[in-house]
């Protein structure tokens, strides 16, 4: 039984486009629902951005893997200013996969950015979840990061 369409598992390997270990703890629904959504999502979470990175820069960088439907900048809940993350939604999942393969782990504003699958934007998710209004990671970190407001909030 010869099958032209057959492939080899070593050639199917696509580790960059796989789900990571991270699961949003605030997700409303079962783990199963969450993973089902992640597997068909066209939306990516983008982290480790500089506070000064603009929507325009995101659009230009992530536009390289396909047409972008929407960019939602992450905001400090109190100050309503950019706090270093965003969501990028594509029209086609394949374009999001290519972003995971080729844009994740590259630089923007001289910072290595990180992308991960997101189950889909919902109102409220554009805000940081740290106590001070920004992202959790900026609450407790000890180092000085000029692009992310200097020292962590607890240090300040």
């Amino acid at each position: 039984a010869m099958s032209i369409g057959g492939t080899l598992s070593i050639l199917r390997s696509d580790s960059y486009a796989e789900l990571s270990q991270y699961r949003d703890q605030h997700f409303r629904g079962t783990r199963y629902d969450q993973e089902r959504l992640l597997r068909k999502s066209c939306t990516l979470y983008v982290g480790n951005l500089s506070f000064y990175t603009t929507e325009e820069q995101i659009h230009e960088l992530f536009g390289k893997s396909g047409d972008i439907k929407k960019v939602i900048m992450g905001l400090d809940k109190v100050k309503k200013t950019a706090c270093g993350f965003c969501f990028v939604e594509y029209y086609a999942r394949g374009d999001a996969e290519n972003a995971m393969r080729y844009i994740n782990g590259t630089r923007l504003d001289d910072r290595i950015i990180r992308t991960d699958w997101d189950a889909g934007f919902k109102e409220g998710r554009q805000y940081g979840r740290g106590r001070s209004g920004g992202q959790v990671r900026d609450e407790y970190r000890q180092d000085y990061d000029a692009g992310r407001g200097g020292y962590g909030k607890t240090v300040q």
Binding site: A1, M2, S3, I4, G6, T7, L8, S9, I10, L11, S13, D14, S15, Y16, A17, T54, E55, E56, Q57, H59, E60, L61, K64, S65, D67, K70, V71, I72, M73, N98, R101, Y102, I103, T106, L108, D109
Partner: protein
């Protein structure tokens, strides 16, 4: 039985597990894994691993023969970079089990026929090469291989077939010779000589009209861009002159010569190439891209010459590695860097050249462009001491990343891709300032400007200003601010100024669409003496005031602008109802945002998607006189191609919907037929079918209308190109000036780019194009482009 055999076998370093009772699919996985991994880095030698694996597989033949056959056929097709590893393996198996060898050959022939039937020509070449290397492994008798090649070459005698069909069979024959030329020549020199002379006469008489369209450089120094078959023929001729001595290919079977030459060989069954059909689609011709030669890297190993067969083999293998591992950038980089060269070849140069060759390939790269930039980053990470220098190195027309680059010899497409590449690395060296004394339209300064503008998009304006040396500041991009004509008190006298103020206040106070309409009612129409009753015919001033004001208020970010478009969608739709209205909206967008091309692009995209403007309007706007100044800017073409792509995706989407609905109807029929319910009467089945059939009819209409819109878009674009180019040609002729200005060159290439990038769709319109637009009366300069395009699938 087989378990005992395994424990008896000395473990030749193959990490295979002891088999317990396992699922068949597990066994298949394990077999596949064993086979795929042979040849990878190992503590044992390749020869002993192959020997061990052959033993394991031979033992499994009684139970798993068909699986093993399938896996081996698949690796032959999909892992051509490990060709000789697997031909050796098959050779060893054939020596141990003659019948298996025969069955394998038969399976390969079946697979080859299937590939040709479904237009998988690239994979078919790998199969042909595999078969030919099996001659070296004593699996296939040389005379029968020569006979197959005779049938391939005789395809060139067929009448009324596309040249690309003959090209493929010729390529399959020639490209196997580096592997098997020596053996075939030794056994059948007279026949081979005849084949080679038939090859020569075919290559002499074949058409090469397509070549200019596919070339990346437009000059021939220092690296001529040869047509791919011409280059391969030169390489084979040189190989023949060298008495078929080839030293690059790794041939593990040589170590097993004593075993293999004892084996019985099989004859290939007579192979008749499947006939040409209407559905046959052959690969397009290519041009070989080179950027390095033996003068590069004088410290290291010498680069094989452009007509050496080693160059061909190395490039083929590197391309295959990228094709195998494109999804896994770290693996891809590692596999490229571990290509066996034994320090005899300047591997880093080959890798960089192959990557750029793919990046610049016309009509489009085999993989998404961003993959190549990221791959180069991974390569530089693994070889930080040597690889980055290679990227900066090449001389002549192609130091890709320095402003030194004489980019006048780069085709526009190549420039665009290079530009995108350069901006991601933000590598620019400002070595020579002669860019500045030239007219800014000249390719060199133009290229630098475009790169800087793209760099700005990835960072921000002030950063670019800070980086660019003062002497180059004339090439820096404009500050991307919006231009609001009603902004200043001094513009009070402009018609519509007061309405603009009114609108501004209203919008800030969250006015509704209706309120906006009533404010706009007061705007006079400069075009007509009297409005009609409604006042909503094309009124350019209304459009101007509304769009200027809204865009200005929403200028803060893309999101703000998109929200504005969404909120006042109704107003937009009404104002832009007519074709002139749509065109004027686009004009105003440009006036407001001409300093921020990126913003223009995203706004146009949004307006198409929300149907404020249509694709034809965008095409007409791009060719309008208002945009003439920016006509050769890269962003204009990005907008046009993005527009065409949206149109194409739209057609595909509706088509898919139609097919899916038809399938649903078919399933419904099938369900009903199998239900066998006597109570069904005709009327009730009609009722069931009704809604679906209606839907299908509606979708059918939608598809037809979308396809007609798509065709119209291309016709508009071609028409406008012809008008523009003809104007220029006439002006030059009457003025006695040289036609080939930088603008003209750029324009012709943009036309070529339309043909190339969307060739599959445009093929559908050939008859219309020939009869309506690209007729014999057309200036030969323009007609040539069309003829080159026709030659691509001729």
């Amino acid at each position: 039985m087989s378990r005992r055999r395994h424990s008896d076998d000395s473990d030749a370093g193959q990490p295979h597990k002891r088999r317990r009772t396992s699922e068949p699919s597990e066994i298949e996985e394990r077999l596949e894994s064993l086979i795929c991994r042979v040849g990878e880095k190992s503590n044992s030698s390749l020869e002993s691993n192959l020997e061990g694996l052959a033993g394991v597989l031979e033992a499994d033949l009684p139970n798993y023969k068909s699986k093993i056959l399938r896996i081996l056929c698949t690796v032959a097709r999909l892992l051509p970079e490990k060709l000789t590893v697997y031909t050796t393996l098959v050779g060893l198996l054939n020596a141990r089990n003659y019948n298996f060898g025969g069955e394998f050959v038969e399976a390969m022939i079946r697979q080859l026929k299937e590939c040709l039937k479904v237009n998988m020509y690239n994979e078919a070449v790998h199969l042909v090469r595999f078969l030919s290397d099996l001659v070296n492994c004593h699996v296939i008798a040389a005379p029968s291989m020569v006979a197959m090649f005779e049938n391939f070459v005789s395809v060139t005698q067929e009448e009324d077939v596309p040249q690309v069909r003959c090209d493929w069979y010729m390529f399959a024959f020639l490209s196997s010779l580096p592997w098997v030329g020596k053996e075939l020549y030794e056994k059948k020199d007279a026949e081979m000589d005849r084949l080679l002379s038939q090859t020569e006469s075919y290559l002499k008489r074949r058409q090469k009209i397509h070549v200019p369209m596919l070339q990346v450089w437009t000059a021939d120094k220092p690296h001529p861009q040869e047509e791919y078959l011409d280059c391969l023929w030169s390489q084979i001729q040189k190989l023949k002159k060298d008495r078929w001595q080839e030293r690059h290919i790794l041939r593990p079977y040589l170590a097993f010569d004593s075993v293999l030459c004892e084996a019985l060989q099989h004859n290939l069954p007579p192979f008749t190439p499947p006939p040409h059909t209407e559905d046959s689609v052959y690969p397009m011709p290519r041009v070989i891209f080179r950027m390095f030669d033996y003068t590069d890297d004088p410290e290291g190993p010498v680069m094989p010459g452009s007509h050496s067969v080693e160059r061909f083999v190395i490039e083929e293998n590197l391309h295959c590695i990228i094709k195998s591992h494109w999804k896994e950038r770290k693996t891809c980089a590692a596999q490229l860097l571990s290509y066996p060269g034994n320090n005899k070849i300047p591997l880093n140069y080959h890798i960089v050249e192959v990557i750029f060759a793919e990046l610049f390939q016309l009509p489009s790269p085999p993989h998404i462009e961003v993959m190549y930039t990221t791959l180069l980053i991974e390569l530089c990470k693994l070889q930080p001491g040597s690889l980055p220098q290679v990227c900066r190195h090449s001389k002549g027309p192609a130091p890709p990343l320095s402003s030194d680059c004489d980019s006048s010899v780069l085709s526009d497409q190549a420039k665009k891709r290079l530009n995108d590449f350069a901006k991601s690395h933000c590598i620019l060296s400002f070595d020579r300032s002669d860019c500045l004394t030239q007219d800014l339209e000249k390719p060199k300064p133009k290229f630098v400007r475009e790169v800087l503008e793209k760099c700005m998009r990835l960072s921000y304006h002030q950063r670019i200003i800070d980086i660019v040396p003062a002497s180059f500041s004339v090439l820096s991009p404009a500050n991307p601010v919006c231009i609001y004509k009603y902004g200043d008190e001094s513009n009070r006298s402009l018609p519509g100024y007061t309405v603009a103020l009114c609108l501004t206040i209203a919008i800030k106070n969250k006015a509704s669409n209706d309120e906006i309409f009533s404010i706009l009612k007061d705007v006079p129409n400069p075009n007509q003496d009297d409005d009609d009753g409604e006042g909503f015919t094309f009124n350019p001033l209304k459009i101007e005031v509304f769009v200027q004001t809204l865009l200005h208020l929403a200028a803060k970010s893309f999101s703000h602008s998109f929200s504005a478009l969404a909120k006042f969608h109704e107003v937009f739709k009404t104002l832009a109802e007519s074709d002139e209205g749509k065109l004027h909206v686009l004009r105003v967008v440009y006036e407001v945002w001409k300093n921020h091309p990126q913003m223009i692009a995203v706004l146009v995209d949004k307006m198409i998607r929300t149907q404020i403007v249509d694709c034809a309007a965008v095409a007409n706007w791009i060719f309008s006189s208002e945009l003439a100044h920016d006509f050769t800017r890269f962003y204009i073409w990005e907008i046009l191609h993005s527009t065409i792509r949206k149109m194409n995706k739209h057609v595909l989407k509706i088509h898919k919907e139609l097919e899916e609905t038809k399938a649903r109807l078919a399933r419904q029929h099938k369900r009903r037929d199998s239900d066998d319910d006597d109570d069904d009467d005709d009327r009730s089945t009609d009722r069931e079918d009704g809604p679906l059939e209606e839907q299908i009819e509606r979708l059918q209409e939608k598809v037809e209308s979308a396809q007609s819109e798509q065709k119209n878009l291309f016709l508009v674009i071609f028409q406008r190109f012809i008008m523009l180019l003809t104007e220029h040609l006439v002006r030059c002729e009457t003025g006695g000036i040289d036609v080939f200005t930088p603008w003209y060159k750029s324009c012709i290439e943009r036309l070529q780019q339309i043909f190339l990038q969307h060739h599959q769709i445009i093929q559908q319109y050939m008859v219309t194009l020939e009869n309506l637009l690209f007729t014999a009366e057309l200036d030969h300069h323009i007609l040539a482009v069309f003829q080159q395009f026709c030659a691509l699938q001729a």
